[in-house]
Symmetry: D3
Subunit: 209 residues, 6 copies
């Protein structure tokens, strides 16, 4: 038995003596520049179990608007680097709506918690796929499509979201149109909205132009 | 010299005798089901040079609305299977606008032809990136973001588009909202548009609800 | 304004007339053969919103052993096809342990629910990364490494798992060694376990040899 | 309505407060080292619309040899970073030929402009796929195969090329063989060319050996 | 301890009861059509250990030309499906040359056996990288570049090759040019070879035109 | 003919004048941080043929335990960067065993040399796939599964291994369990091993706890 054991140690030794260690994981070094495939890896020295733990994924008490949200993505949880997904959770008080938006290059999977969460997406052939989810239901929103959600019942709604991107972004249609300096006449001809409507929403969303 | 040549033929023979031929290309067999990585390959027998040629990428004469468009994607040009991009071209007469839209999971590269084509996209932090392109300019619209374009000059505009998807789709915001049965009250609360505005556009885009 | 609208419809028409529709999603056709990139897509006709909803992701009442588990992966939720991840959830009663196992080609992200769940993995340089998670903590188990978990507190533990594979598998070390006909002498020399220990565990796990 | 809007801003704030911003694009930082997946991303601060515009994709006046060429690839248009394709265009005067060459790891799609452009590739089973393209025709040259082109008509030929690599290279057979110091005797036995022929072409292409 | 074990079996049962089994491997079903990502998987029923074994990777006795070659790629060894590489081995008698060729979309790694094998590739900037390998040396030929090899010593040469494609192809420059019906005048203008040289080689390689 | 040649040089010139050269290869710069897609590329200046050659892939004389092993992976052979595989070779004297282990995220292909090498893997449904390989046999061990090997005949065994990871790691079950400070009580409940057995192996493998 002894020869084999020493073979083992010899094999490991052979591997370890190199100045590059084998890599089981690639914790993001957020101080380095991102690449199309993710962040460079943090140096393996000084990595501890806490690099794999994220402890801020907690909903605070409801704010003054009775909503709360928490996200875990590579920017605040570097262990997600290279995994290709991230996680968010939220609670919506009664009557709250998540407005029309999309996530570029990202599919979304909703895991419904308590309450009546109604969510829908629109496909590129303009069909509406909408459902009121029961607790525990999972719903898939295909990559990059416009979608929305709202609390359609009594009491609050909670949900967890898995996003197929480790650094996802959100594009909210109202903010994209009315929350910047995009010229009203351009909005008008590219959306067919009336000028008065545009002006009203620009006022609401702090846009100009 | 002879031994080497025969080595060559021997090597080839060895390869060819198998019942699977080496694969230089994978022309889509559109009669088979698509997969997440593209269509199954058409049988290599009977493939001719014409499988690699697409002859319908021509703009017809301007239609009654003075616009014309042509697309080459895997569905009408099976040689694009697995390549990860497709091509479109279009002409817009004076004054014509391409309304606000997005391409899920697809980046777009515009190669401006003649005329003054103004195009813009909005990033997820709500910044507008807009430019009037000169002939020959290339413009990149990042994956999945809302964008638009319009003929901002005299005379017609022509452009060629490369899309980073062999089977791209287009989601036009107006049609997604007003060209189906999506309930007006849901549109209202997810977009903050007034009910009258919604009704007006539903009438225009043949939607109901 | 009218010309643009008709341009829109013309553009769509042009796309739709092809016998291949643009593809926003690829619901798995489980009756077809899997490929290295996932299942072929279900025919787009007859797809409804229910193809995107999974309603069986619910923990039943605790079984006689006070445990329950639910999984959503491509095999029972075809909308996950091509997404590259799947989801599981479980509850462990007080004192229950998840034995040493690994998921080939799959990273695991644990989202801790109520209770005290202690989990750990061992890296290939034999370091143990172990943590007792608080409710809401997220923990990353790098791809393919040996890991385990157990309820280390009072009352039951609940957790949700995201797995970076749409069709993940689980290899439990005890079952791999003792739950089949692998010859005891081979186990002995490849694990250094004593023969009596092997025989005892083969009896427990219904193996022979 | 107000709560929802504030929810929105709260959600965005939550995202923005992190020291890593969500990423809609990854403009190449050409001063950093390339990686197998592309260049690191340029810092998001100071990015303007001009980072997305390439204005040098213009054919100059024909040179003394009546040819002109323009390329847009990641090295001169950093917005192509991570997109996986690049673009070139060219004009060939009457009688001009593009010699036998290949693009390693790159498929080529030709979009024929005016004139009679004849192009062909040879598959690995030695079949010639050759076609004289009409204006507007698209032609696919599968990845990495030997191919060529020439102006086969009257007047000049123009074409646009999409290459499935953001940083494509070109290997011209004559230059590979005769434009360096590769020993004539090695060329002779690996190509079966006569020594006199080799010497003649080495003189033409400035090679030695 | 018992509850845990039953938890185990319960967990497995839960997984197995689905009509899709978790997938550890995807043996190619060569009777189905290839896809851009590989062959569909052979049905898991009836898979035995022999599906993972390839027993024909043996060099026969040297043929009349003193050469022998063996290849293992997905077409004759379906277990390589989806792995992204294949393997070949060969022996060259004294004086034998492997002519100028390339592998589209494939890097090659040579592991030199006995004898003096000289091999070289030419980069796209026309630099020759050539080396005579000692036994045990490994040499990397970057993807898709022209390369060659020859026995430069006494006695025979043996080598093993790993190719970064599970279904690699080989394009031999001489056969591409002279082993088919490609018109001599086209060869002449795309390669600058003299007509007499072309005719001579067409005769040698059984081409016409 | 002259115009074409100058066209060539003009084309190349156009490419070379940019401050980014086209890239045929990406030799790892091991002094930079690894990324999820591999190491940044070494600067193209000063690259010579020796960057593509690895001369340390040789088995030394058998050590005192009659075993020898050699590995070529990106850490000691930077030319493998981005290729997605690495190579190892080994010799086992009579009676030597390679203990139960796995390679995370890595498939293994064994090419048997002389001797009788018996190897086996266990699938996630606990089936043992085991085979004694004849010289020249190839055997595929699917990604991430537990496997082992031993010299089952007379005399020594040699084998070559291709691993589908350019920087593979090895997790040996005994070392993972008994070669560190993992608490014995945790080992006991996650493996069902007896405490005495655990203590015995911890002594053997220098673990504690």
């Amino acid at each position: 038995m002894t020869p084999t054991i020493f073979f083992l140690f010899g094999f490991l030794l052979c591997t370890i003596n190199s100045h590059v260690v084998a890599r089981d994981f690639c914790i993001a070094d957020l101080n380095s520049r991102d690449t199309p495939a993710g962040y460079p890896c943090k140096s393996p020295t000084n990595i501890t179990v806490d690099d794999f733990v994220f402890s801020n994924f907690k909903l605070g008490k409801p704010n003054q608007f009775n909503s709360s949200v928490a996200t875990a993505y590579v920017g605040n949880f570097p262990a997600l680097n290279g995994l290709g997904f991230s996680i968010a959770r939220g609670e919506l008080e009664e009557g709250v709506t998540i407005p029309l938006h999309l996530h570029p290059d990202t599919s979304e999977v909703v895991i419904a918690g308590s309450g009546n969460y109604t969510t829908g997406f629109i496909s590129s052939d303009n069909v509406v796929y909408m459902k009121t989810l029961a607790e525990g239901d999972i719903f898939v929103i295909p990559k990059g499509l416009l979608h929305f959600g709202f609390n359609s019942g009594k009491g609050k709604v909670s949900a967890l979201f898995v996003l197929s991107h480790e650094n996802p972004s959100i594009q909210i249609v109202d903010l994209a149109l009315f929350g910047n300096k995009l010229d009203s006449s351009i909005i008008q001809k590219t959306t067919f909205l009336d000028d008065a409507q545009i002006k009203k929403l620009k006022a609401l969303f702090k846009g100009s132009g």
